[in-house]
């Protein structure tokens, strides 16, 4: 019998692809992890999520009903900035105990609000597909993360405010704390935009400079936040660099008169 065995099927020339351990290109898309799909029901969960699972917040901001999450983040931001404001107000005491919290909370909210339109425009120019609601949510996340971190710095700020009388020193310290906290907030914002198909981050970086300048100017526009004054708001208009220069000059003169 010359029966031949049937020819076995030819194995494929190309070996089957091995599933990659890490994604080959780009960041993992939001919502890949089931934990990111869990809703954020209240403010406590929102605080925990932005610290431990920022991607969960980013994912939820893209879902219908993101307005509630944004409102919760704004609420946390206001409460945290009021608490930090009380700590800042303890430096001078008296009316500053209620004036400083109001000024810090209002200043931060107004800064975010007046920078929101330009942020949206810059993200669109960069090719991002993020909607206005999502951009607003990411900005609210930035402010919330900043103010939460400021709460973390509050005990240190309080200890220093009780042990020094130097306005310039305290002002510098608060600015350093604010700068560090804002850097973390901006990192969250940038991570959010990296998931929105943005082709360029140049516009976003320009906006970061604008936001920093506006926030710094706000501290001068609403002065005094640390020191004391007869009026709630300043009578004289100044740019923040000029104000800082005046503060340092006054500090220098007072230290010279003390040494005499």
């Amino acid at each position: 019998m010359n029966d031949q065995n049937p020819i076995p099927p030819i194995p494929p020339q190309v070996p089957p692809p091995i599933p990659p351990v890490m994604p080959v290109s780009g960041p993992r898309s939001l919502g890949d992890d089931p934990a990111e799909r869990v809703a954020v029901p209240n403010v406590i969960v929102a605080i925990e999520a932005i610290l431990r699972q920022p991607r969960r917040v980013m994912f939820q901001l893209r879902q219908p009903g993101a307005g509630r999450l944004i409102a919760a983040m704004v609420f946390v931001s206001v409460v945290c900035s009021l608490i930090y404001g009380v700590v800042a107000g303890t430096f001078s005491g008296g009316t500053q105990l209620w004036a400083a919290p109001i000024k810090i909370a209002v200043g931060l909210m107004i800064s975010a609000l007046i920078c929101l339109p330009s942020l949206y425009i810059f993200t669109c120019l960069g090719g991002s597909q993020a909607r206005l609601v999502e951009v607003s949510g990411l900005l609210a996340g930035l402010v919330m993360l900043t103010t939460i971190l400021l709460i973390g710095f509050a005990p240190v700020a309080w200890i220093f405010s009780q042990s020094t009388e130097s306005l310039a020193w305290m002002g510098t310290l608060h600015l350093i704390f604010w700068f560090i906290a804002t850097c973390f907030g901006l990192r969250f914002l940038e991570a959010g935009f990296s998931h929105s198909n943005a082709k360029s981050l140049a516009g976003f970086r320009t906006w970061v400079v604008i936001f920093m300048l506006v926030a710094l100017q706000m501290t001068t526009a609403l002065r005094p936040i640390l020191g004391t004054s007869k009026t709630f708001l300043p009578v004289e208009k100044k740019f923040f660099v000029a104000h800082w220069g005046d503060c340092l000059k006054a500090q220098d003169e007072s230290s010279k008169s003390e040494s005499r």
Partner: protein, 239 residues
């Protein structure tokens, strides 16, 4: 999907992102609702920026500039529409009148949207500056505000023209043709726009002059005559 559903303010983000396929398709259609939306964005965006610009001098000046700024943009677009539509085919881009008109209007919509977004920042800047009317602001403050205005308007204008160039490249398929058409359109719009701005001055206002919608000398001379006289004065200084 109805026509009403298709036309949303979200279209403005498509313009800002510069998605050439969709924008090119829009310029080919003549929709009154879309046109109304674009005109509305110009009125609101440029108007808000104009208000922030004039506010430093006086609230009344803010109102006047809010009216004049969008008016200049719309008047320039309308007055040059016929010329621009004729120049495009002559320079190698064979598009109908409505398409050239829509393309130019859309570039102004982008600029106006950017200006509108910057208006809160400009208002904040002006609010922090010493008032122009009551006290004499320092030279550096005045120059800083003026330069910031120039920078923002230049950024808005450049962005609008970059998007227009991308659209023209898409429509013509050749960058050289797009460059020629854009340059011709820009030259015409700048020529007319400068004169309209001259007639409708002041925008920021001067502390030594009264607040008014038009200067009494609005129609005396023109922008280019003035530039020429200024050049002559500079040259006479060297005599």
């Amino acid at each position: 999907m109805s026509a009403l559903d298709e036309l949303r303010p979200r279209e403005i983000s498509v313009l800002l992102r510069g998605e050439p396929e969709r924008i090119a398709a829009w310029t080919g259609q003549w929709r009154v609702r879309r046109l109304a939306l674009h005109v509305a964005v110009i009125i609101v965006g440029a108007g808000l920026y104009g208000a922030a610009m004039g506010w430093w001098r006086d609230p009344q000046q803010a109102l006047y500039t809010a009216l004049k700024f969008p008016f200049i943009i719309l008047l320039t677009t309308a007055a040059n529409a016929l010329l621009n539509a004729m120049l495009a085919p002559l320079l190698g881009l064979n598009i109908p009148f409505r398409q050239s008109f829509s393309a130019i209007l859309m570039s102004f919509v982008i600029a106006a949207a950017i200006l509108g977004a910057f208006s809160p920042l400009m208002a904040f800047l002006v609010w922090n500056a010493p008032p122009m009317s009551s006290a004499t602001p320092s030279e550096s403050t005045y120059n800083f505000i003026k330069l910031t205005q120039v920078a923002v308007i230049a950024f808005a204008g450049i962005t609008g023209n970059v998007r227009l160039f991308q659209l023209l490249s898409r429509l013509s398929g050749r960058r050289a043709v797009a460059s020629r058409v854009l340059f011709a359109w820009l030259a015409g719009n700048l020529f007319l726009g400068s004169q309209l701005s001259w007639i409708l001055r002041p925008f920021i206002g001067s502390p030594s002059l009264p607040v008014e919608f038009f200067r009494a000398t609005a129609l005396h001379g023109n922008f280019y005559e003035n530039v020429f006289h200024s050049l002559l004065q500079i040259l006479h200084q060297f005599d």
